[in-house]
Symmetry: C2
Subunit: 284 residues, 2 copies
């Protein structure tokens, strides 16, 4: 497989960075091709702004979505943005490796999505409106790829459990797993979280962490993915609201995962979905 490792930690000697190094070596040992986007080392520009759109006319008002779609369609994106898109297209799997800061991604990683996930590519694919809402959530440009989150967390595991005070980790990560990754079609593996990570990790603890990471890397291509419900396969009504008979007792974000009794849909390819919508692929 081709694996892109997205890494976000400012200290190359940190635990999080060591886990990234371990993952890269382990993947290469297993015969995978690996590329790394080490966002801090690359001095990745975190903020989406007018400089992302070199063709934007001086003084013209910036509409971020419109500018993003135009820059993508006319191949006039910022060079660092298109370079990242090429890595994503190349990759069969993405590994996102980061410390959980304030219950989410470090800003530099959030800014990777803000800038790289262009309109017409990661979103605004297919026709929006009417009884459907475009091609997204399970279908999209990045269909067929997989992603694994590896995150280091200072807090203790029970505090991130289903009834823990911080909120369930799966729910805290939902804007990333479902909102950023599943949206353009990427299948998301259950996250690998390392809790109670302090300033010092003993060699034995580090070895145990690496073993857990190794096991997840070994099954990167085969492990069952989080069964998020695809948008366009009958689970949601025309307003994109989950039908009342599905996950009827769920009151939170877990309702957007299929339950064992639900039928598993066979997802169409992107080109099939576009044809069904009457959009020629070239129109994108």
């Amino acid at each position: 497989m081709n694996v892109l490792v997205l890494h976000a930690h400012p200290e190359p000697r940190s635990l999080t960075s060591s886990l990234k190094n371990f993952a890269v070596s382990a993947l290469e040992r297993a015969g995978h091709e690996v590329r790394v986007s080490d966002l801090y080392a690359m001095k990745w520009k975190a903020t989406l702004d007018i400089d992302d759109f070199p063709a934007h006319a001086d003084g013209e008002r910036l509409y971020p979505t419109q500018a993003s779609g135009r820059a993508f369609a006319t191949k006039q994106q910022a060079a660092d943005v298109s370079a990242e898109q090429e890595k994503v297209i190349w990759a069969d799997a993405l590994i996102l490796n980061f410390p959980l800061w304030w219950y989410g991604m470090p800003a530099i990683l959030k800014g990777w999505f803000d800038r790289v996930w262009a309109a017409g590519w990661a979103y605004d694919v297919g026709r929006h409106g009417g009884s459907r809402w475009g091609i997204r959530f399970g279908e999209g440009t990045l269909q067929g790829k997989r992603a694994l989150l590896v995150t280091t967390i200072g807090g203790r595991a029970p505090q991130y459990g289903p009834r823990g005070v911080n909120g369930h980790l799966d729910d805290l990560l939902f804007p990333l797993t479902h909102g950023c990754l599943f949206y353009p079609g990427i299948d998301v593996l259950p996250p690998l979280a390392f809790f109670s990570v302090g300033n010092r990790v003993s060699p034995a603890d580090y070895e145990a962490m690496c073993a857990r990471l190794q096991a997840r890397l070994d099954t990167l291509a085969t492990a069952a993915v989080t069964p998020f419900r695809p948008q366009n396969y009958g689970d949601y009504d025309a307003s994109q609201v989950l039908l009342p008979h599905l996950s009827p007792a769920a009151t939170g974000l877990s309702m957007h995962q299929r339950m064992h009794a639900d039928p598993v849909p066979v997802i169409r390819s992107l080109s099939e979905s576009l044809q069904l919508e009457g959009c020629a692929a070239e129109e994108r």
Copy 2:
């Protein structure tokens, strides 16, 4: 009241920026003192890195939490960080005004929290461990302050409703409302969201939006806040897991809000909490 407006949009002529301007004028008309942190205009540094810690020794390994706590305690923080902290201390209320990008804050605003919310100030207050876990979630340095989120969203409202495909907006914002704001003690008002915001908003629609915003500004000091459960008042067990008899049927993040039947705790002041824990205030 003193009101700090945190604003994050790259285009000064955008709808989001116009709403910020409207809010500032409305608040000033009502006699409030207003300060604005316009993050894009300030060229706010979004990424936490070693440059945030001017006293950090060359070549020394960076432990972000430790470095943050030391810089705060020794008054050696980056100047832009301490300037923002002073504004927050000055403020009775915070307004966060931003477009929802990929189901969360734009990176520049996430980076404001990553950098400004220092250890020993916004977190790591009080003693962690044993049967308690520090002073946070309802108690903390910023107790008594309120925050209102104002967010512009391209998608339609039903898609962000309790069973909408994007996830319920309250849940998507939980890492910010509960994780960033309630954590150091800030009371959070229900968010004001403007849905279906496209490139063009008619004058009539804009007027209606301003009226909704005005109504929320008029009640900034008085409106009922989101009743998140405080951590240290009997709702959570020693592992910080919600007791089974509270919100027993909830499966998602809404369980961390008190229900009508639950008693409303009287929150201690920060100094009382520190004394109860046996921490002298100077130790912080």
